[in-house]
């Protein structure tokens, strides 16, 4: 079985999703929920051996599977994970489980289709993280847009059509150039779409620069980096809670992962040459978006902007690995830790907002106030997640930001100064929102009628709380899996691939 773990991680949720779909309409909603839960649970369980069986002493691909797919073009069904990707497969399966629980009673319309969309999406995303063939990656990467598009477009808010089309076009247009780059690399690599072959490929500076630009468009949109971020707040605001959770926790990570898997190792010289562009855009994301988040009146929008700012740390960290000729992995590992942590924290934040939205049907901060009086248990959880969002030590949110800043100091003190402003911004926008929503006297009739979390909501909050605290107090198991792959990556990026 271990030989096909990654295939299981991909196809178990997809098959589960199809089964759920096959059970028909809403009169079977009860059984569909349970089927979806079983599917998500199985999907999560099959990813656990990836952690248990992972060889931490290896920088290479593990759990590899290789089968020909389209032989004419030498396209293979080639899967494998290394220290850069393994966590995201697990995180994705975990998030799907949370999403199924989160939507349990909340979704009343087209339950089966809702659950199926998330299960299928989960499998497709796992495919993108595990693919070692560029076309296979591309197919998964694009295919996952479809269920997300449907999730926003069908179960979304009033402006869902605008948001879903904006989401789709933004991300789809971004990735078209990537396909061009893949085709170019295919010819350069002697008719191969093997990603690892791309890594070894010598390329001239112009070619590298063009390839980097192509990747930039695809992945920067997904991350999203400033200034191609404006689809995210709209998508989040209109998406149902589950959609926001997956969007923030997982799909953004795909963009960041793209930089690690493609841009940096395939175009290392161009990456070094143009690192300043990425650094600049990342720092703008941290500071500019920090300001913007401060003035948001919609909770989901606020957290969406905060996501952009946190992802700015990720892309910043990717480029903070060299002090002169001294390489260090503080910031790169910090960035990957930040990606995982943001998966937990943003999912938790969006779920928490969902809990309130389900009761009051408003996301406006002004419609709340004094929620703690009526929902003390919820308020405690939300406090924890707000603090994690503000990067408090002891929560997962701290670890990544801390090491990205420490890594940035090594490269350029002023980068670190700008990045560290997140300590102030993050606390300001998150806790100010918390204060207005949770503290104070009961603000209105809606708040007065609130009831505290039910068992299902408690379960989701508690699992996420354990994840956030566990990773904050003992992040070593997370980073232990990364060391070799990250060091290997950094070493590769520091080498020139220009033809001699």
């Amino acid at each position: 079985m271990t030989g096909q773990l990654l295939s299981y991680a991909i196809w178990v949720p997809i098959v589960a999703g199809l089964i759920v779909l096959a059970t028909g309409g809403d009169k079977h909603a009860g059984i569909q929920r349970w089927l979806a839960l079983i599917g998500a649970l199985l999907g999560f369980l099959v990813t656990l051996p990836l952690y248990a069986g992972f060889d931490v002493e290896s920088a290479g691909m593990q759990f590899e599977e290789l089968r020909p797919w389209i032989e004419t073009f030498n396209i293979n069904y080639h899967l494998g994970v290394d220290g850069l990707s393994v966590w995201f497969v697990i995180l994705n399966a975990f998030t799907t489980l949370m999403v199924v629980l989160a939507g349990w009673q909340v979704i009343e319309r087209r339950v089966g289709q809702y659950m199926a969309a998330f299960l299928i999406m989960s499998g497709l995303i796992n495919g993108a993280f595990a693919a070692l063939d560029a076309i296979l990656f591309y197919v998964f990467f694009e295919a996952m847009l479809i269920p997300m598009y449907l999730v926003i477009g069908i179960w979304g808010g009033p402006r869902r059509v605008y948001a879903s089309i904006k989401f789709f076009l933004y991300t789809f247009l971004g990735s078209l150039l990537t396909l061009v780059a893949f085709v170019y690399l295919y010819y350069q690599a002697g008719h191969s779409f093997d990603i690892q072959a791309f890594h070894r490929l010598p390329l001239g500076m112009t070619a590298q620069a063009l390839v980097l630009v192509a990747f930039f468009f695809a992945f920067a949109v997904k991350v999203p980096m400033w200034p191609v971020h404006t689809w995210l707040p709209d998508a989040h605001v209109e998406a149902p809670t589950g959609g926001s959770m997956v969007l923030a926790a997982i799909t953004l990570k795909l963009g960041a992962y793209g930089f690690l898997r493609f841009a940096l190792p395939i175009a290392p010289d161009a990456s070094r040459e143009y690192a300043w562009v990425f650094v600049l855009l990342s720092l703008i994301a941290v500071v500019y978006i920090g300001f913007v988040a401060l003035v948001q009146t919609d909770m989901k929008k606020l957290v969406a902007y905060s996501s952009i700012s946190h992802m700015g740390f990720v892309t910043l960290g990717f480029f903070m690995f060299a002090r002169g000729t001294d390489l260090n992995s503080f910031a790169v590992e910090g960035a990957i830790v930040q990606m995982i942590s943001h998966g937990f924290v943003s999912a938790a934040m969006f779920f928490s907002i969902g809990v309130m939205y389900d009761r009051v049907h408003s996301r406006k901060i002004a419609d709340y106030g004094g929620v703690a009086n009526k929902m003390p248990i919820f308020a405690s959880f939300f406090m924890l997640f707000a603090m994690a969002n503000a990067g408090l030590p002891g929560t997962s949110g701290f670890v990544g930001e801390f090491f990205v800043v420490l890594g940035a100091v090594q490269v350029n003190f002023w980068y670190a100064v700008l990045a560290a402003t997140t300590l102030i911004f993050g606390a300001a926008y998150t806790l100010w929102m918390y204060k207005r929503v949770i503290f104070g006297d009961v603000a209105n009739q809606h708040v007065a009628e609130l009831s505290d979390v039910n068992k299902r909501e408690f379960l989701v909050l508690a699992i996420l709380a354990v994840a956030v605290l566990g990773m904050g107090l003992y992040p070593k198991p997370f980073t232990d899996l990364m060391h070799f792959s990250v060091n290997d990556l950094i070493w590769h990026v520091s080498q020139t691939k220009l033809p001699q």
């Binding site: 076009l169 806790l431 204060k435």
Partner: protein, 694 residues
């Protein structure tokens, strides 16, 4: 039990209590919640005392790892303990004051619905503070640093229905974050240049890097040590409320009084002082940084004292006094008298906790009226509170033989001996501060415990806390009489009064001159001679008292008390006249507005931040990116596609026509190739275009 287990138990015992009371408080009830938390802290205190004794009787200091938190880039980041005498002293102070506050809370919070939550928080605080002082590396220090900040935030906003409380806790957190911003960058520089965040490694390497310079702006080189130390000190300025990051502390008085004593007087706010003392091997290498520390401390010591004079809220008087005393400690750090700073930290913890808890007892007696203008003559009704508060005040102003006398006089002396450029100003500040301290302390004391019983005639003063939680009544009626507080409140007062009186006399010789901090605090005695010179002049605690009669500070203190006596008991018309004078020249307004610092932060920085945010959002995101580029592109696509759409007419004959044209074209190319009009490669090219596989 081996020592390592003991070191682990000390922080974990209060954590256990906090978890039980916090998560299961609803189930186990009030009594069990306070028993488990008090038990945890009591264990912690007993073991801390044992550890201190162990070290005093020649035991080895401990420096070891508990677990490896994270490994990155081959560097281990550990959770680990460094237990030396400085740590042990802090542990004893923290756990003792915490224990007193826990007991006191039984009485103070008895009517509060959040009883269990409160106990959970203060035990959690004790855990966090212990982790902070016991850290053997910067990461854990930062952990504890932010964790105490979190608990402080939760406790200032404990009464979360009160808008003033939730404003104050947000403000406290954010101002502290500004300090942490510097602190984090300082830690970043330490890692970058020392290659480790373990104290031992860093301190050992510090002398090598004394002359290292860094270029932060092209053309300007800075001393690494100066930049690093100043950045670290910025963190201390936030946590220990030094000017200009002091603004959060007075507002933190919105929290319940027990935590004002524990967190905002005795322990958390001294974390910055502790940190700088801990980092003495680094600060000693940079006179620039020390001078910065000295001047900031001096400003805080004097100017915050002035504000204490005009406060009418009993807790705020004590709060400004705390600010001023923290300034004294910082001054001591600046002149390299780290042990004196630690000494004053300890004495201050006892008498300031006593003063706060005394104030709390008064507040209970006054039924939650905090305005000292409504009090008076309370000594008749609250004798224990009265006597203990008097002892605390005497200790604070530096009365000979009391704890504060020894520590404060030592600070003044150390500043006198300092040769740093800022020492002149600092000396003036700490001397003037003595008079100011004595004056505001006894102004409060006389107004509260002596004179007319003014609550009988009130009605014209506003209550400070009219918006208090619903379960409290506010203030005494004209016919009510205040009562002495229950024993759970007065017992801690008595237990804190004892060290407030005697600890200075007992501890000064061993702590400052007996080598207590040898190997812990490092002072470069060649360039910073204050401690050496003081040692030469020290002839025992008794001689220090006799010597005090020939120096200025004692007379300044007496003058302060005398002035307060005359102003507030003998001739109340004098302060009124002075008040009118200062109002006329505008000084009063400046003091009332606290030097306009809050205006600057709230109407300046915070408002500007929101304005910038709005502009970036509405103009940057909405207008430029979305409006111009995204929707512009969409419109362009829409325009092109509406043009292209015309091709798709839906009429079969149009499509058939297009097919025929295409076929004709293809045939032309094929024929052309056959007939040799052009080379076969053109045909190949077209076929390749249409069928790339072939």
């Amino acid at each position: 039990m081996d020592m390592k287990t003991i070191y682990l138990l000390i922080p974990l015992a209060p954590l256990f209590g906090a978890i039980i009371a916090g998560l299961f408080g609803w189930a186990i009830g009030r009594r069990a919640a306070h028993c488990v938390t008090i038990g945890g802290v009591a264990v912690s205190f007993a073991l801390s005392a044992y550890v201190l004794n162990h070290l005093l009787s020649g035991g080895e200091a401990f420096n070891g790892t508990v677990y490896t938190w994270l490994t990155i880039n081959g560097v281990d980041f550990n959770v680990g303990f460094l237990v030396d005498k400085l740590t042990a002293m802090m542990m004893c102070v923290v756990t003792f004051v915490s224990l007193m506050v826990h007991i006191y809370t039984i009485g103070y919070m008895q009517e509060d619905p959040g009883y269990q939550r409160f106990f959970s928080y203060i035990s959690l605080f004790t855990f966090s503070m212990l982790m902070l002082v016991m850290a053997n590396n910067f990461v854990q220090l930062f952990f504890g640093w932010e964790a105490v900040g979190l608990v402080s935030y939760l406790l200032i906003g404990f009464w979360f229905k009160r808008p003033t409380a939730t404003f104050a806790n947000l403000k406290a957190f954010l101002v502290n974050r500004v300090g942490d911003f510097g602190f984090l960058l300082g830690i970043g520089l330490v890692l970058a240049y020392f290659g480790s965040l373990d104290y031992a490694t860093v301190f050992a390497k510090a002398p090598e890097l004394k002359d290292t310079t860094i270029t932060l702006m092209t053309g300007h080189t800075w001393s690494l040590m100066a930049v690093t130390c100043i950045l670290l000190f910025v963190g201390a300025m936030g946590k220990s409320a030094q000017f200009p990051l002091h603004v959060w502390l007075p507002d933190s008085m919105e929290g319940p009084t027990p935590i004002s004593a524990l967190i905002h007087a005795a322990t958390m706010v001294t974390a910055g002082i502790f940190m700088v003392a801990r980092m003495s091997p680094m600060f000693e290498l940079s006179d620039t940084a020390l001078n910065f520390v000295l001047v900031i401390g001096a400003i805080t010591a004097l100017f915050m004292g002035f504000l204490g004079i005009i406060q009418n809220d009993i807790k705020r008087v004590v709060a400004y006094s705390t600010l001023s005393q923290l300034g004294y400690m910082t001054v001591a750090l600046g002149v390299s008298a780290y042990s004196v700073a630690a000494f004053h930290l300890m004495t201050h913890a006892f008498f300031k906790a006593l003063l706060f808890l005394g104030a709390g007892s008064v507040i209970i007696g006054m039924h939650h009226d905090q305005d000292i203008r409504n009090m008076g003559g309370l000594r008749k009704y609250m004798p224990i509170t009265w006597i203990t508060s008097l002892l605390g005040s005497l200790a604070l102003i530096g009365t000979p033989f009391f704890a504060g006398f020894y520590s404060k006089d030592s600070i003044i002396e150390a500043v006198e001996f300092s040769t740093l450029p800022g020492a002149g100003f600092a000396h003036f500040a700490v001397l003037a501060g003595v008079f100011v301290t004595a004056f505001y302390s006894f102004r409060m004391y006389f107004l509260v415990f002596h004179g007319k019983e003014r609550w009988m005639e009130k009605g014209h003063h506003d209550h400070h806390h009219d918006d208090h939680g619903d379960d409290h009544h506010h203030g005494l009626g004209p016919n009510d009489k205040p009562h002495e507080s229950p024993w759970v409140v007065t017992l801690p007062l008595i237990l804190l009064a004892i060290p407030s009186v005697v600890i200075g006399y007992l501890a000064i010789e061993p702590m400052l001159y007996g080598g207590f901090f040898d190997g812990v605090i490092s002072v470069n005695h060649e360039s910073h001679r204050a401690m050496e010179m003081m040692k030469e002049e020290f002839h025992g605690p008794l001689a220090m008292v006799t010597h005090a009669f020939s120096t200025l500070p004692l007379y300044l203190a007496i003058a302060g008390v005398a002035a307060a006596y005359v102003f507030y008991l003998v001739k109340p018309s004098i302060p009124a006249a002075i008040d009118r004078f200062f109002s006329a020249i505008g000084v009063r307004k400046v003091l009332e507005e606290k030097y306009y610092m809050d205006h600057l932060y709230i109407n300046g920085f915070a408002a500007a931040g929101r304005a910038v945010g709005t502009v970036l959002w509405k103009v940057g995101d909405a207008l430029l990116i979305d409006g111009l580029i995204v929707n512009g592109a969409a419109k362009l696509v829409g325009f092109v596609s509406s043009a292209v759409r015309r091709v798709q007419t839906g009429y079969i004959y149009h499509y058939a026509f297009a097919m025929i044209i295409g076929a004709l074209g293809f045939i032309t190319v094929w024929l052309g190739a056959r007939l040799g009009w052009f080379g076969p490669e053109v045909f190949q090219w077209v076929v390749g275009l249409l069928y790339p596989q072939a």
